[in-house]
Symmetry: C2
Subunit: 319 residues, 2 copies
Amino acid sequence: MTLELDVLTVGRVGVDLYAEELHASFTEARRFQKSVGGSPTNVAVAAARLGLRAAVFTKVGNDGLGAYVRHALAEEFGVDTRFVGTHRTLQTPIVVAAMDPPEDPQFVFYREPRAPDSTIVPDEIDLDVVRTVPILWISAGALAVEPSRGTARILLAERGRRPHTILDLDYRPSFWTSADEARREIGATIDAVTVAVGNRAECEIAVGASEPDAAANVLVGRGVELAIVKMGGDGVLVATREERRVIPPVPVDVVSGLGAGDAFGGALCHGLLAGKSPFEAVEFANAAGALVASRLLCADAMPTEAEVWRLMETSSARS
Amino acid sequence: MTLELDVLTVGRVGVDLYAEELHASFTEARRFQKSVGGSPTNVAVAAARLGLRAAVFTKVGNDGLGAYVRHALAEEFGVDTRFVGTHRTLQTPIVVAAMDPPEDPQFVFYREPRAPDSTIVPDEIDLDVVRTVPILWISAGALAVEPSRGTARILLAERGRRPHTILDLDYRPSFWTSADEARREIGATIDAVTVAVGNRAECEIAVGASEPDAAANVLVGRGVELAIVKMGGDGVLVATREERRVIPPVPVDVVSGLGAGDAFGGALCHGLLAGKSPFEAVEFANAAGALVASRLLCADAMPTEAEVWRLMETSSARS
């Protein structure tokens, strides 16, 4: 007998080592703070911080950093780790970042010869959970290589496009053999999900259109119930079959955009499960993302519900 | 027209990220300090700190961390970087360490699929320098894989066992396919050098004997002019064809042994070039190693000559 979940995310995990010094290059930065990283993992962290019962389906290495990730998820962040596997030989990936500048950091990724999370197979998950969990969140990064690609496809087939099946269009060129392959694989996955979230560049890869309304047209036309196109300073386009609106950005002093998208994701899950309208859910998610953008670390910076409401009140009082 | 060198070291380089918190596991440690790493690179740093003109023959990645290493060597440490190459695609290796405990830290090495320094080829070095530099220092790690293994052999052949040709018996199992291969490769290299330095475990790999006198017998019997066997708390056995002595350890409060061997190496070079006897040179090297053992970082902790003399005076006054 296991506890029921609200959200299951699928995809990568790692350890982030981010320079403490802002505006310092790799040459200048001297101290790095450790944090749990990997977009879908941080979406689960963000969801848990907002009170949801969240799990992540991923895999760490059999090393000290993998042990840290597992411990932090369970003990610090309250994320269910029952589907966090351990690869016998591959190492827990790390990302070293120089905040130069903080709003557009420099990264060095260490995930060679490959990341443990790319080796997840369907045997390692409970398919009943995949079918019935209220929200299944899949990061497009899981589609980059086998066997995680085939695993994601099987999970989606089991799920049968049950709401809410969310595809984060998350695209990092270095994870893929080619942009064409990413276009093909991410594009084909649209037909299996009910919600798609991405920025303009990610929409261009997923549906061949970076103009927000055009991208939303394709997504909605292919049966997505909720298309969310992030436009940075221009806000977020939220499109359903019936209606579309631009949700304005929440003004904050940006420290680093890192993790803001994952906070947005966790908060979007929270809003959808709370029965908010898609527009209200994105307003809430926007505020959560803005809060993390005003902080340095990702996982450690995920806001509580009270913090998000407080920012929303302050910023609406200001406007 | 380039400046003449006193010491040329050959082998690996990387970036160390060491936890600031002592006695903290990877789960507990939160902040990591960045430093230049890689044993032969740190020997060059230690030699430069002692006033020698030192260079290292190695290779970094074409990334921010590689740029940091090159900058730090040249600008912070005064090491000549003319033979520090840049690999087009491989990444600068990093080592993440938890000081748990500080005297025997836990490491995770990131050097997959391989380290840029393992790709050095003879074309990338000036063979005139290799033939004539007063000290050529080769780390046995360079023998672990091709092409750096063949490159090291060619450098030694060019050198023709000219004094001082130093082999650091430095052995890390993870760099090698098998211990047998290490035995064969490191063992065969003894015949090409005039000085060999290693601890008991490394002597076991290099000459099949871990008992210090037995190891020294083999080394001296094969033509090594100076055999140095480190025995930890039991001191250092120094053996020439004519004489052997145990140099006692210098008592300090050990923070971390990391880098102590490299400080020893740089100071040994200093002593040999200053015309000290091998026994005096090792006394000086011992004190330099002890100083670094009392400090956290490696490269940043290398002592000046004045600091070494001060410790030697203090410790002889104490004994």
